[in-house]
């Protein structure tokens, strides 16, 4: 029965979501069903993670032809690159069901669909499959923001949808280009990842196709300057959706770059790596600085999330083992820490009906457990050693320095920038004097505690003992780095030679 694990994890939630949409159920039942299915998926995901052996190239692989004449297959599997992203996606979603009460069942149904699509996009080994799930991912987001969002939800919905679709179309064009190139080089049609990586791509066409993919993923991540949809969408979306967007979907963008762009377009990738790395670093600094003066709690976290995504993306572009491992690790680390921050914010919003930072204060006195959880997640997000955030950021900075000293130094400023806005936020929300509103604040309930505390423990565990995670990433990361170092003449970026000059 465990052979079909992945398929179950993809279609279980998808079907549940559709059934929930069609049946006239109350939202409580929908929430219960969603929680049940997502917890089952989370358990399956953990089993998958435990069973996964890093030695195999693609584990849990399944492939059935869908359109044989075009070589389109239903092909799924996980490897060292996707395993952590998959784990994050399945273990974080149940928290939304457990923590937030929504009035409409459609919210839960959409969340289910989103989960299925995300797992599908992560597990897909066929570009068409990937594209399909990638697009399905957007639909529930569209509905969730558009139907259940804040005051300016319509504008935000339009912005995120148009932006994302524009990127996706470019990607689709590039996919078609790849398939045609493959057909002309080998005579058969195929959209399988493994066959497309063997393509020899040169010239303007390859560059354009590369840009097509890159723009689509850069919008999703989002990389500077494609981030402008993010503050609006994150702020207007219901908190559960913001959580899904920031903790999981953004990571799928990063994952997709590693999965599709790096092995297929080695040459273009190496050529553009420096520019992309700068874009990541500048995005980190830009969003981090912008976060400082935000008055809206959620908007500040949105900018913070965007800032960290810059660093995470940077890890890919540095093209060495440490940075890539750091990125993959940081995907989990950031998902958990930012995720918890957003969830806790959601709890504040639910109880106080405000997100304005100036209206808060002194929360720590009434809710010490809440404050402690927030503090741990915040410290992980600023990369304090002993939490998961440090391992990833340290590896990325280490790799960045090898890639380019200037980028490395700029990347290091994340240590300072993050602390500035986070501490100020913490001060104004948790310290200082209580006001009438915050005096009523309840600490975490039992359900909330058992939902959030395990993730907090995971954050600390990953900081103190990251090796189980790193080991599962390692072989794949090594393989990907090898692809690039073979191709890249990045020797002149190494420190020794720079200094020799």
């Amino acid at each position: 029965m465990f052979d079909n694990l992945l398929t179950v994890m993809i279609f279980g939630p998808l079907v549940t979501g559709l059934v929930l949409l069609l049946l006239p159920l109350s939202s409580a039942i929908a929430r219960f069903a969603g929680a049940f299915v997502s917890i089952i998926c989370a358990l399956l995901g953990v089993k998958l993670f435990a069973d996964f052996s890093p030695a195999t190239s693609v584990a849990f692989h399944q492939s059935y032809p869908v359109i044989p004449s075009l070589g389109i297959n239903y092909s799924i599997g996980v490897d060292g690159i996707s395993i952590l992203v998959l784990l994050v996606a399945v273990i974080l979603i149940p928290m939304v069901f457990l923590l937030f009460k929504e009035k409409q069942k459609g919210y839960y149904a959409n969340l289910m669909v989103a989960q299925g699509a995300m797992v599908g996009a992560i597990a897909a080994r066929d570009v068409i499959m990937f594209y399909m799930f990638w697009e399905i991912m957007l639909l529930p987001i569209f509905f969730m923001i558009g139907l259940y969002g804040g005051e300016r939800r319509v504008a935000a919905t339009i912005k995120i949808t148009v932006y994302t679709i524009a990127g996706s179309l470019l990607m689709f064009a590039s996919i078609v280009y790849l398939a045609i190139m493959y057909q002309s080089q080998t005579g058969v049609w195929s959209f399988a990842m493994d066959s497309l990586t063997s393509l020899q791509l040169t010239g303007t066409g390859a560059t354009l196709a590369f840009i097509g993919f890159m723009v689509a993923f850069a919008i999703k991540i989002p990389l500077f300057p494609f981030h402008t949809w993010l503050p609006d969408a994150y702020t207007e979306a219901p908190t559960g959706t913001t959580f899904v967007l920031s903790a999981i979907m953004a990571k799928i963008g990063v994952y997709a770059v590693i999965r599709f762009v790096v092995p297929v377009f080695e040459e273009s990738f190496v050529r553009f790596a420096l520019i992309l790395a700068f874009s990541g670093v500048i995005g980190m600094m830009y969003c981090g600085i912008a976060a400082l003066v935000q008055k809206d709690f959620k908007r500040m976290l949105a900018f913070s999330s965007a800032s960290h995504m810059g660093i995470i993306a940077l890890g890919i572009f540095c093209m060495n083992l440490q940075a890539l491992t750091g990125t993959l690790f940081q995907i989990v680390a950031h998902a958990t820490s930012t995720g918890v921050l957003f969830l806790l914010l959601g709890i504040i919003e639910e109880r106080m009906e405000t997100r304005n930072i100036d209206d808060l204060g002194g929360v720590a006195y009434r809710a010490p457990l809440f404050a402690a959880c927030f503090a741990v997640a915040m410290l992980a997000s600023v990369g304090l050693p002993g939490t998961s955030g440090f391992i990833g950021e340290f590896l990325i900075i280490l790799g960045a320095i090898k890639f380019n000293i200037l980028i490395g130094v700029l990347a290091g400023t994340t240590l300072i920038i993050g602390v500035c806005y986070m501490l100020w936020l913490f001060q104004r929300v948790f310290f200082e004097k209580q006001n009438k509103r915050t005096e009523q604040f309840r600490d975490l309930s039992l359900l909330e505690t058992i939902t959030i505390v395990p993730v907090i423990l995971l954050i600390i565990f990953m900081g103190l003992y990251p090796q189980p995670f790193i080991e599962r990433i390692k072989p794949a990361a090594e393989q990907y780095t090898l692809i690039l170092t073979d191709r890249a003449e990045i020797a002149d970026h190494t420190i020794s030679e720079t200094i020799a000059k």
């Binding site: 912005k159 981030h227 402008t228 491992t325 010490p368 050693p385 501490l423 100020w424």
Partner: protein, 638 residues
């Protein structure tokens, strides 16, 4: 040569466990029934106490080993292993770290004890002890870590605890701001540290990234890279140990409870930078230039802070500036490759400065949290124990001959002379004089003369034994710690230096009697001059002076805080405002908005054609068909 010692890891682990237990207890009970303070106090002191015992055990175990083989190691597990980067969660005890270990646990334990009295009745008593335990765990990790990255964990951990404890009275925004400032400034230094170890890794880290492997391959380091690494690490040290230009956080850090100031901001955490540079002595000896820069920064910090110290009115701030100044001495020492002298000063300074802070705490406690020295006076009679212990502390700090501070400071000044840095020696001498002056200025104003505020004076009372006992113990340390490293001149054997020598790579210039005499004589003269000026001005009648001109400028700390505010903080905030108010909506979002505008305009343009009449639409269709047909005829040549 490697000895696996299974209990090393327990030294930081025990306080950590204590912190967890206390923290959970606090969280669980702070809303409802209170757990008695005594239970918290006992639980809080158990961890440090066992750590102290283990530290002593480590010391004797090391001592039992042959000289040159004095290393105890424990590798608990592989922490991070990515490619060449192999970092294990490992602990290393050698003479250097064992010395640090001893006094950190010792002073730490005493201060825990003292805090039971000082913090009595505070509603966050449990939280305080949890933080204090966590701090001790981090500090021990910093000291015991077997490589730079493990050290960095402790390094940041102590920074975090420092933040938490400075903003302990968090209802007052000013305290939290002080905490934020400490954390952020420390983070600037940490950036240097991270970059430093990153460069170090790419330089020579491939064969193992712990001190032992690094020391073995240190000679392979490219000199330019070496200089970069050394300076970057020093940036880290300036943040943590409050040197120019990152010293600004330490005086503000006095917002925290006084035991915190004693433990973190005087005795242990702030000396981490010195310890780190001594740890990396194998790098620094290769790059003399870096050492010289450090020495100059250190001695200038010492001078600057001493000048500020002369004009402060807050008893804790006087001590804070004094700490910065003493740290400057230590850096001058390690910069001149006199590592053992520097570490020895760390050691003695821990005793007398902790003593002074705890004494100050006792005074503050007695006066119900009054910290302004001009409101004190004549407390000698009311607080006899505090008076006498503080006197010993002050004498040690001022460098009175035969007190601990005298020997360690003299060692540093002598090294400056011996290494041929006369200028540094001379500045050091001036600083010694100023130190003696401001120490006794504070001492006289607080304890002698007449009470400035009679009502405060009347209510003052001596502290309970749980506070005074640590004072006495520390006073004994402050008096006698110096004899551990008695130089040859006084018939000693430089025991501490000798003990440390296996861990440190340093050059000992041959001792010359003339230089030693010069150094000792200079120190004594400086002490006498400083104290006598202080006595003449404040010895009998203390009156608050009015500062003008340069003095006023110095009282305002040369406006450095304001300068930083104007140069960094304000522009940063404006930058942030600018980005989120102007750049974000108009520049980065601009293309998107202009696209939307384009759509709207073209919509307006096309609207003209939408007359709403079916017939007209039919005409459009026919026209379109007609044009298409025309083109088809043309292209297909039908």
């Amino acid at each position: 040569m490697e000895q696996s010692t299974p209990y090393l890891g327990f030294i930081p682990l025990l306080p950590l466990a204590g912190a967890l237990v206390l923290g959970l207890m606090h969280i669980a009970t702070c809303q409802g029934k209170r757990i008695p303070d005594k239970l918290y106090g006992i639980l809080g002191c158990i961890g440090p106490f066992i750590a102290l015992i283990l530290a002593v055990k480590v010391f004797f175990e090391l001592k039992a080993l042959d000289e040159g083989k004095r290393v105890l190691l424990q590798r608990v597990y592989n922490w991070i292993e990515v490619g060449d980067l192999k970092i294990s969660m490992g602990f290393l005890a050698d003479p250097l770290s064992s010395l640090m270990l001893l006094f950190v646990t010792f002073v730490g334990f005493l201060i825990h004890l003292y805090s039971i009295g000082y913090m009595a009745g505070d509603k966050n008593f449990g939280k305080f002890f949890a933080y204090l335990n966590l701090f001790l765990a981090s500090m021990l990790l910093l000291v015991l870590g077997d490589g730079p990255v493990v050290m960095f964990v402790g390094w940041e951990g102590v920074g975090l605890c420092s933040y938490l404890l400075i903003s302990f009275y968090s209802e007052d925004p000013a305290n939290v701001v002080a905490g934020n400032k400490a954390f952020i400034v420390n983070r600037i230094g940490d950036l240097g540290f991270v970059l430093g170890i990153s460069f170090l890794f790419w330089g020579i880290g491939a064969d193992g990234f712990d001190y032992i492997s690094l020391e073995a391959s240190a000679t392979n380091l490219n000199p330019t890279l070496g200089l970069t690494v050394c300076l970057l690490l020093f940036v880290g040290a300036t943040g943590k140990s409050a040197q120019i230009p990152l010293y600004v956080w330490l005086p503000d850090a006095m917002a925290g409870p006084t035991p915190v100031s004693a433990l973190i901001h005087a005795a242990t955490m702030v000396t981490a930078g010195v310890y780190m540079i001594a740890r990396f002595s194998f790098l620094y000896v290769q790059v003399p230039l870096a050492g010289e820069i450090i020495a100059w920064v250190g001695i200038l910090t010492a001078l600057l802070a001493a000048i500020f110290g002369m004009y402060q009115r807050d008893i804790k701030k006087i001590l804070a500036y004094s700490t910065v100044s003493q740290l400057g001495y230590m850096f001058a020492a390690v910069g001149l490759t006199a590592y053992s002298a520097g570490i020895f000063h760390v050691f003695t300074h821990a005793f007398f400065k902790a003593l002074l802070f705890l004494g100050a705490g006792s005074v503050i406690h007695a006066l119900h949290h009054e910290q302004d020295i001009w409101k004190m006076g004549g407390l000698k009679k009311k607080l006899p124990v505090t008076y006498w212990t503080m006197l010993f502390g002050a004498l040690a700090l001022a460098g009175c001959p035969l007190f601990s501070g005298f020997f360690s400071k003299d060692e540093i000044l002598y090294s400056a002379l011996a290494h041929g840095h006369g200028a540094i020696w001379f500045i050091g001498l001036i600083v010694a004089g100023i130190t003696a002056y401001y120490t006794f200025r504070m001492f006289f104003v607080v304890f002698h003369g007449k009470p400035a505020d009679q009502s405060l004076y009347d209510k003052a009372h001596e502290s309970p034994p749980v506070m005074t006992v640590p004072l006495v113990i520390l006073a004994v340390g402050a008096v006698f710690a110096g004899f551990l490293n008695l130089p040859h001149l006084f018939g000693g054997h430089l025991m501490v230096s000798h003990w440390l020598s296996p861990s440190l790579v340093e050059h000992h210039p041959d001792p010359t009697l003339a230089l030693e005499l010069l150094a000792v004589g200079g120190s004594i003269v400086a002490f006498v001059i400083g104290v006598s000026i202080a006595y003449r001005k404040f010895g009998t009648k203390a009156q608050e002076p009015v500062y003008r001109g340069f003095h006023k400028f110095a009282e305002n700390k040369f406006m450095v805080d304001e300068l930083f505010g104007a140069l960094i903080v304000t522009p940063y905030r404006y930058l942030s405002q600018g980005i989120s108010r102007i750049i974000e909506p108009w520049v980065t979002d601009g293309p998107l908005k202009s696209m939307a505008l384009l759509y709207r305009l073209s919509g307006l343009a096309f609207k003209v054609f939408q007359v709403g009449l079916v017939r007209v639409y039919a005409i459009y269709m026919v026209l379109g068909l007609s044009i298409m047909s025309f083109l088809l005829i043309k292209t297909l040549n039908l």
